[in-house]
């Protein structure tokens, strides 16, 4: 038997809430990067407004996901290295998101260009890594092992 699985503690009908929440910050922060790029090309203020809402909502949902993810991670079971990297990377994303929200609360052009846009791009680059690791965690340490353990077969 492979290593002991990470068993999600917070679930709804057996599905981890952490896994249900993580798509929100991924979609919001990716969306914010796109709307930032569009604003930087058009100077049309509504795109910067979109970015501000996406960043705020992404940070809210990302913070909830982080809370539940850490409950799952710390309360029981093994702590694989990729879990640590996933967690630290995503906490860095939330810290950047806080700064980025404040930058986007400025008025006009400098709410996005250059610092806001740069932070949005860095966020997405880190998310590519942490998101990949998150899926590795889910598939290797939760889903597959869970299925094997419960003997449901493949």
């Amino acid at each position: 038997m492979p290593s002991e699985p990470i068993t999600p503690r917070v679930t709804i009908a057996g599905i981890p809430v952490h896994a249900m929440l993580v798509p929100f910050p991924i979609a919001c922060f990716t969306g914010a990067m796109i709307t930032d790029v569009v604003y930087s090309r058009t100077a049309e203020i509504q795109w910067a407004n979109f970015s501000a809402w996406l960043l705020a909502f992404g940070m809210l949902m990302g913070s909830l996901a982080a809370l539940l993810g850490m409950i799952d991670f710390f309360r029981r079971g093994p702590k694989p290295t990729i879990g640590w990297v996933h967690m630290i990377g995503n906490l860095a994303i939330l810290a950047i998101a806080l700064v980025n929200n404040l930058v986007h609360a400025r008025d006009g052009w400098t709410s996005v260009v250059p610092i806001g846009l740069t932070l949005s791009v860095i966020t997405v680059l880190i998310m590519v890594v942490t998101g990949f690791l998150g899926h590795r965690l889910a598939y290797r340490h939760v889903s597959r092992d869970d299925i094997v353990r419960h003997g449901d077969g493949l």
Binding site: V37, S40, R41, A43, E44, I45, Q46, N49, A52, W53, A56, V99, N101, L102, V103, H104, A105, R106, D107, G108, W109, T110, S111, V113, P114, I115, L117, T118, L119, V121, I122
Partner: protein, 445 residues
């Protein structure tokens, strides 16, 4: 402007460090040649929002030695402007802001909460109240509602037997003869003004040319610095000239972010105004100012401030407009929120104050150390500022920086006494020379 500016992370870090703030006390951001520091940007803009507590009974603002101050009227509902009449009656314009602006960003939600806190808990009247001192004791003993149910009124001027009131979305005309205490009928629409649904800077200051043939109305911008988009600034940040008979309008001067206190300077015959300048580029930037307003003049907003200082927050850039921008005449200090202006035309205050300008400063919310919250004096000579700005009426803040009052509109009555509308103290204050006080306010009729 089309460069996709993606800067390396090290520069981002430096950019954040550079956001630390400069010393908050004003460093010469006043006068004809103000010291203008470099603009900066913030992660968390400096802010200090005051709490309204009101004056205790018998408590008043403070005036210099040789003057006295007393409430001409109190228990008003948010008086923002005063307009003395030739018979001694005083019209007070009570106003609260229009309905809240649409929330387009998370920031709008937070800022609305913060700024709302600074306003008086007394519900504003949105009406014109006539105040009359029948026994000449310097305190109005009659308060009558002259015009009720207005849309956030502010500006008011009487030309002959026509009383013009500038609400936030229109100018109305009412038949009114000095001495009347009521107005019959609903009034006549003179012209619509840019109002809602955003209506950020909503106070519409109003004055008439000395011959009464034209009206001038101030229309503030719809944003701090075009963060609502340039379309929201249609017909905003300017002074209109209005034909009072036909309602025809034309832009008289533009690029004025939030012009108030429109007043003709009596010796030069020039139109003057006090202007609230932009926020969030420094505790000491941009100074609010008073200036003579030239016909056809452009004063920079939004593309530049104080002449040709480009505001990098505004895109697309307009170097052609920056080149046209006129630098204003006289800086009043950063974030003081100057809203009222009156010239002292009488000799009542003595030679030192004769001819000078008095400015009502509503007070700052966007810096860590408060500025404004006072009425200042600016000496004038030959129709121009001729000396240093100095506080005249102070004491609107208590020891904990709570607001007992906030001065707004100012005016001189027929005896040469200074009247001050105070929308947190909910009073009209009257400043008179100490010696002349007993006889300063002859009874009406």
């Amino acid at each position: 402007m089309k460069r996709a500016a993606i800067v390396p992370p090290t520069l981002v870090f430096l950019g954040l460090v550079a956001c630390s703030s400069s010393p908050p006390s004003p460093q010469g951001q006043e006068g004809a040649n103000p010291n203008l520091p470099a603009a900066q940007q913030y992660l968390v803009p400096p802010m200090k929002v005051t709490t309204p507590v009101g004056f205790a009974d018998g408590q008043t603002p403070t005036v210099p030695a040789g003057f006295t101050i007393a409430a001409f009227a109190d228990h008003l509902r948010g008086p923002r402007n005063v307009y003395p009449l030739t018979n001694g009656d005083v019209l007070a314009v009570e106003a609260g802001g229009p309905p809240p602006e649409p929330m387009t960003r998370p920031k709008d939600v937070l800022f609305a909460l913060a700024k709302g806190q600074a306003h008086s808990p007394v519900k504003a009247g949105n009406r014109v109240v006539l105040l009359r001192d029948t026994n000449g004791d310097g305190k109005a003993d009659v308060q009558v509602v002259l015009i009720d149910k207005l849309h956030s009124p502010f500006g008011i001027v009487l030309v002959g037997d026509n009383l013009y009131v500038a609400e936030t979305d229109r100018i109305m005309r009412y038949p009114f003869t000095v001495g009347q205490t009521s107005i019959a009928g609903p009034g006549v629409l003179v012209t619509l003004l840019p109002g809602g649904p955003i209506d950020h800077h909503w106070t519409k200051s109003l004055t008439a040319s000395p011959d009464g043939s034209k009206l001038y109305v101030g229309i503030g911008s719809n944003s701090n610095i075009v963060e609502r988009g340039i379309v929201a600034e249609q017909d905003r940040a300017r002074i209109w000239e209005v034909d009072p008979m036909t309602g025809a309008t034309r832009p008289y001067a533009t690029g004025l972010r939030n012009p108030n206190g429109l007043t003709f300077e009596p010796t030069s015959g020039k139109l003057w105004a006090v202007i609230n300048e932009r926020d969030e580029i420094g505790q000491n930037l941009v100074p609010d100012y008073m200036t003579s307003v030239k016909d056809g003049g452009f004063y920079g907003w939004p593309w530049s401030w104080y002449g040709d200082h480009v505001d990098v927050r505004v895109k697309p850039e307009r170097p052609d407009m920056v080149a046209k921008a006129i630098a204003p005449d006289f800086a009043l200090g950063p974030h003081v929120a100057a809203l009222g202006l009156a010239f002292n035309t009488s000799a009542t205050f003595g030679p030192r104050y004769a001819g000078g300008a008095f400015v009502g400063e509503h007070g700052s919310w966007n810096r860590t150390v408060l500025t404004g919250y006072q009425v200042v004096f600016v000496p004038f000579s030959g129709g121009k500022p001729s000396g240093r700005i100095e506080p005249f009426v102070t004491g609107f803040l208590d020891a904990h920086d709570n607001t007992m009052g906030r001065p707004v509109g100012v005016a001189f009555d027929r005896t040469g006494a200074l009247l001050i509308a105070d929308d947190v103290g909910n009073a009209v204050w009257r400043v008179t020379p100490a010696v002349a006080r007993a006889s300063a306010s002859p009874a009406v009729r």
